[in-house]
């Protein structure tokens, strides 16, 4: 965004830093770039073992539930929308709208985590796929579990921010804090976009 009139806050550019970018935002982008490599390795590992499944590996198509995963994907996309609206709200100083958006994002995040817990339980107890009994289980649970952990951290962060907004110390000037959190949340979403295609959808072709 750019400011509209003298005295309004420009949330995208910060002339007080040498890069012109708020330091917190720069830090978050650097972290996300490194996290890209982390998830890249986890996804590669899963795909490599799917290319050459060792004997006795269960068919992923028989294990996965594409309906549940599609629902989870939709929920995470909608949570991203609400997060974007939350950032938009704090940049305008609209605390009421910020709280509603954060609350909805938390709600969607919890639904996603609930779906993941249900999926994991189903895999372990119904399909007998565990993290130790096959390579598919090892790579799948490690990858999606790490992503789930990121979602959980995001939900805790969102809840903290929601509570902080009630202290009266969160104003338009601290919009960068919400924006940094938003970047993290959207990153969790884009990682899921890749996992949804690479891990789930490709199994059905």
């Amino acid at each position: 965004m750019s400011s509209t009139a003298a005295g309004t806050i420009d949330h995208h550019h910060d002339p007080s830093t040498t890069t012109g970018i708020p330091n917190k935002k720069l830090l978050m982008w650097a972290f996300l770039a490194s996290d890209c490599m982390f998830f890249g390795c986890l996804i590669s590992t899963h795909l490599i073992y799917r290319l050459h499944p060792p004997p006795g590996t269960p068919a992923a198509k028989d294990v996965f539930s594409i309906e549940l995963t599609s629902f989870s994907t939709f929920i995470l996309l909608m949570s991203s929308l609400m997060m974007a609206l939350a950032v938009n709200a704090i940049q305008k100083g609209n605390l009421k709208s910020l709280r509603w958006s954060l609350l909805t994002t938390i709600f969607f995040g919890l639904i996603f985590l609930g779906c993941q817990v249900y999926e994991f339980r189903n895999f372990v107890f119904e399909k007998h796929l565990t993290i130790t009994n096959s390579i598919l289980g090892s790579t799948f649970f490690t990858l999606t579990g790490t992503h789930g952990l990121h979602v959980l951290i995001g939900v805790i962060w969102l809840t903290g921010m929601l509570l902080y907004s009630y202290t009266g110390r969160l104003t338009e000037k601290q919009a960068i804090d919400v924006e940094s959190m938003g970047l993290y949340w959207h990153f969790v979403d884009i990682v899921w976009i890749v996992i949804f295609t690479a891990v789930y959808l490709l199994e059905y072709i």
Partner: protein
């Protein structure tokens, strides 16, 4: 930390802020539609490479919409985009290299049958 500061007026900025709400909602709907398309794609009776290409393109479109609009890269300084794409390119390069390395026949895991030593080659130790 560096706090955001005031800056001179930029014409059209207010209109942009106003329209962001609608823009975000439109993008979210578009992303939902693309997800639906992806789901339909896997059941289409086409060649595997065509389906894989379509899926990769669709997920790339979703990815780009999220990073450039929801994550504000479109409006931020180009350095943010460069920084993130350094990580993204390194990650994609690593993935490509690993998949290429392990797509050869030599990379196939040995089965227990392959590991068995023929009886004639066993040296009996008395």
């Amino acid at each position: 930390m560096s706090a955001p500061t005031s800056s001179p007026a930029v014409p059209g900025g207010h209109e942009l802020e106003k329209s962001k709400f609608g823009l975000y909602v439109q993008i979210a709907m578009l992303l939902a539609v693309i997800t639906g398309l992806e789901l339909v794609t896997v059941y289409l009776p086409f060649l595997t490479w065509i389906l894989v290409t379509v899926l990769v393109v669709l997920s790339t479109v979703k990815f780009m919409f999220v990073i450039f609009y929801f994550m504000h890269l479109r409006w931020d300084k180009a350095f943010c985009t460069i920084l993130f794409f350094i990580g993204l390119v390194l990650a994609s390069g690593t993935m490509w290299a690993l998949l290429k390395l392990f797509s050869t026949d030599a990379a196939r895991p040995l089965t227990s049958a392959c590991l068995e030593v023929p009886a004639a080659m066993v040296i009996r130790v008395v």
